[in-house]
Symmetry: C2
């Protein structure tokens, strides 16, 4: 599985800032401080969820005092909201880029690979999302029922068309997408378990390559032995 090229394992949020949003222009220092805070907050929120995370922890992780942090983000919820927004942008990008004009099998294969790369390179974002889901998505439900549903509906239609043309096997496109999400994000969200079960020898960095190989093969072929390849 050569095309996994991304290096940095689980740091950095894209953290694009809209230049028109707040009335006041921001200094470079303000932006940098905010980014430090967001970075620290991602660590803490992704581990403990919204309610379990404390401003103290975030401040400590960010290397500043609690009041100082609150100078930049007056409310805990603001920090979380901003993280969620950035995270969703990053997180849904692979699905957005899923291309109806592409060649079906390679397109799906590449989607699986990209999702797995994201699990490897942005595990905190994955856990932030997972935490929100476990809590019933109180701060995200509108987006799930709106933007996300629309996007999935659109891609499901593409998959259905491919099935009609006999280019991929007929199956439920929604549950196919769910399965790709579930299997790839599992390697971020349940990372402790994966490493514990694989043990020292197999639980190292190579586990993502192994997973990639396995998942590609699973989604392509299932596990029923092919007559022509046996014996």
């Amino acid at each position: 599985m050569p095309p996994i090229k991304v290096k940095n394992a689980g740091k950095s949020v894209p953290a694009r800032r809209k230049s028109a949003a707040p009335a006041k222009a921001q200094t470079r220092i303000q932006r940098e401080k905010q980014d430090v805070i967001l970075e620290a907050a991602l660590d803490v929120f992704s581990l403990h969820g919204f309610r379990g995370a404390t401003i103290d922890q975030i401040a400590e992780q960010a290397g500043m005092s609690k009041p100082n942090l609150l100078y930049y983000f007056p409310r805990k919820e603001e920090i979380h909201k901003r993280l969620m927004k950035t995270m969703l942008d990053t997180w849904l990008q692979p699905l957005r880029e899923f291309d109806a004009e592409g060649d079906p099998i390679p397109e799906i294969r590449s989607y699986i690979r990209r999702k797995l790369e994201m699990a490897r390179d942005f595990p905190r974002e994955s856990r932030l999302f997972a935490n929100e889901m476990l809590q019933g998505a109180p701060r995200l439900i509108d987006i799930l029922e709106g933007e996300l549903k629309d996007l999935v509906d659109e891609k499901a239609a593409v998959l259905l068309a491919w099935m009609d043309e006999g280019k991929i096997a007929r199956t439920d496109p929604y549950h196919l997408i769910f399965s790709i999400w579930a299997t790839t994000q599992h390697y971020a969200d349940f990372d402790v378990q994966v490493r514990a079960v694989l043990g020292k020898e197999r639980g190292g960095e190579g586990r993502f390559e192994d997973a990639a190989r396995f998942l590609e093969n699973l989604f392509m072929n299932g596990i029923v032995p092919k007559k022509q390849t046996v014996g």
Copy 2:
């Protein structure tokens, strides 16, 4: 998918109590109260994780005062520990029953079905576990590296033997197990998202039957169209 027979959707913990553990015998009332507390605690812990959950919430959910609750479980951590223990027993049962003597394909198919039934019938247990994983399994890591690893090693060996005999396609047995866990538990842990994306028409009770059909088919056949079944 007929064999999904379990009815009660997401209530009741087995809550077996070992009769030899605490020095003092327990009255019937004590047992009942403890069960009420554990039931309430499962609601709260599964939603908010250990740190996010509060004794106030649990007490309210259990319909008793906070001091009264603390009479039965002096520490928050005790409640959580007991829940985790019961949950793990329930949760790993299907894997324990995975039978080396059985017929490979039906055995795996049936394992998938049972895991999906558990996601449907014990979603809170699934979320309790998921919450613990997201936090890096601080209260569970020993079990993961011990009991669980041993159990998975054992079952992986069974799968490998089947592959050697050509009864199932050769693939990575560990990642196969991870994939079954991930896809089935997804329907408990990410339930909000599943229902949001499926919408009103398809997000109802039938979603589990749809998922079962899809997953069986995925694991058996993959998505590459079979030459003989196309056209």
